[in-house]
């Protein structure tokens, strides 16, 4: 699958299979094509080449099955929190009112408050509430914590984790910081330079990548001292997720 905006290539030769029932982290530097990939997945964009399927269908044809929180959590500034919940209720057949009302109460949001006057953290939380109460099978979050302060970031991710276990949905979320995703995701996609650099189960990735000081000629070197192999040489050391992702990104930059 590929996506171009005029002459600019946002995604190219993007071949990817994402398993159902996982929390997928999409990580990559700014401008890597993360938003484009997520926009394609929720049907806001259509690919200029190739195709994409979500639950076996073209995105945009099953609007009720996919919930999306766009970057910066866009909301109607002159509509109140309560209006946004009504919006969700009127526009979504599977809307779970109880879930939405409980969450708003727990967050301490005033229903009469205009969305334009909410803080960044509150906006993100309200947007997440609308997406969650939609009761979709797939929840897509585009840079949900990028604009949040560290405390709001932690609360948001904690809430998200609670949801995932409670609602049993598949989740895809993106960030340019791996640290945001490491604690919640169990599947990782590294996107850089409009290409997928790496995709796989987190545990599996950690089991197949190693730090080595002097790689032998037979090893598949990712980038300076990081190799990909199921049988590590005796001198190999464990790698953490951060180093692994950075190795793939650095390798792409070098190319």
């Amino acid at each position: 699958m590929g996506m171009r905006y005029g002459r600019r290539t946002a995604l190219t030769e993007c071949t990817l299979h994402v398993p159902v029932g996982r929390v997928v982290g999409l990580v990559g530097p700014n401008g890597a094509g993360k938003s484009t990939l997520l926009g394609l997945a929720c049907g806001l964009l259509t690919p200029t080449s190739g195709r994409i399927e979500v639950f076996g269908r073209t995105p945009g044809t099953q609007l009720a099955d996919v919930a999306f929180v766009a970057q910066d959590a866009p909301l109607y500034a002159n509509l109140s929190v309560g209006d946004h919940l009504r919006l969700g209720a009127r526009l979504n057949p599977r809307w779970n009112h109880q879930l939405a009302a409980d969450r708003i109460r727990r967050l301490g949001l005033d229903e009469a408050q205009k969305a334009g006057r909410l803080s960044g953290g509150q906006r993100a939380q309200l947007a997440l509430t609308i997406a969650a109460a939609k009761r979709a099978e797939l929840l897509i979050l585009d840079e949900p914590v990028a604009s949040l302060d560290p405390l709001a970031r932690r609360t948001f991710l904690q809430d998200l984790e609670d949801f995932v276990t409670e609602l049993a949905v598949s989740v895809v979320l993106s960030s340019h910081l791996l640290s945001d995703l490491a604690r919640v995701c169990d599947y990782l996609i590294v996107l850089s330079g409009a290409r997928v650099q790496l995709a796989g189960d987190v545990d599996e990735l950690l089991a197949t990548h190693w730090h080595v000081t002097s790689p032998g000629a037979d090893l598949d070197v990712v980038f300076e001292g990081v190799v990909r192999t199921a049988q590590p040489p005796p001198s190999a050391k464990r790698i953490d997720l951060e180093d692994l992702v950075l190795a793939y990104m650095a390798a792409e930059v070098q190319r």
């Binding site: 609007l63 866009p74 509509l79």
Partner: protein
Amino acid sequence: MTWLAGRQFRGQALIGLAVLVVFSGYLLIAGYVIRHSYNTDVLGCLAADGCDRSDAEKHFAESHAALVIIPSILLLVLPGIIGLFWGAPLVAREYEAGTQRLAWTQSVTRRRWLVLKLAVAAVAAVVVTGLLSLLMTWAASRFDQVLGLRFNPLLFGSRNVVPVGYAVFALVVGTLVGLFLRRTVPAMALTLLIVAIVLFAVPLGVRPYLWAPVTDSIAYNEKVRDSLVGGLSIRRGAPIVIDGYTVPGALMLSSRSELMDASGKPVYPTDVQDCLSQLSMDVASDNGPDRLERCLMNHNLHFMVKYQPGHRYWSFQWFELGGYLVLSVLLAAVANWRIRRLRA
């Protein structure tokens, strides 16, 4: 979705309501003032002795011209304002705030979203312009009747059913332009330009030719001379032209016509030398032109006029309303087709 469309439109609807109330109030008062004045000054003149009706009517029309013409202009401009403030931001403002990404990822398709948003605004536009046009038509009816110029571009476009068509058309144009430009202010500017061009071009270049006009031969006589807005234009070597003849209540396609003799040949100054030589003798006296005209009347002259007769007025009103509504539906269909393929 209708709920969201209505909720988002609430602020604009309140402004529309305020305009409706103020404008209606003005028209009600103006209507009563004009009717009262008509009853006393024009009808009263008929009852009174020694009162010239045409003088009374002329005075009545002159004294109320501003009262009628200003709201007529406003009503003619209103569709443009609707296109500007209701049409152009309908989609463009969503793009500017990024909220289309919220709206289009709920369980309602974009097409349904657009159709319902457009429908809510269209109903409001029809109600506001419909009511105002109704009141305008009522308030100005005595004035219009005395003036007898129902096909005048200003009066035609601000009376009866056509304002509704203009308003819906402007709204859809604004929406479509906003959909393509995705920026509110440029969309407003382009909408204004398009609506202004269409609403100017149609009365001047399209309306007179919607039906095959009636062609009539008019004899040049005293009655014709008295009704002329212009006069005769006589130049050496060119046919004599009669300027500013109007058939009462009609839409004139020709304001200048050549005078012709009984055989249908254009009349040159040399053909009526006898009248002109009289004129040159009388040039010092005030009644010179009058004597020239009287002389010409004896030459059995006539001229041809093309016009849309006054009894076609309602056909034109309905036809134009229908045309604008059909055009609006077509443009809305383009918007509906376009929005499916749009990048969010």
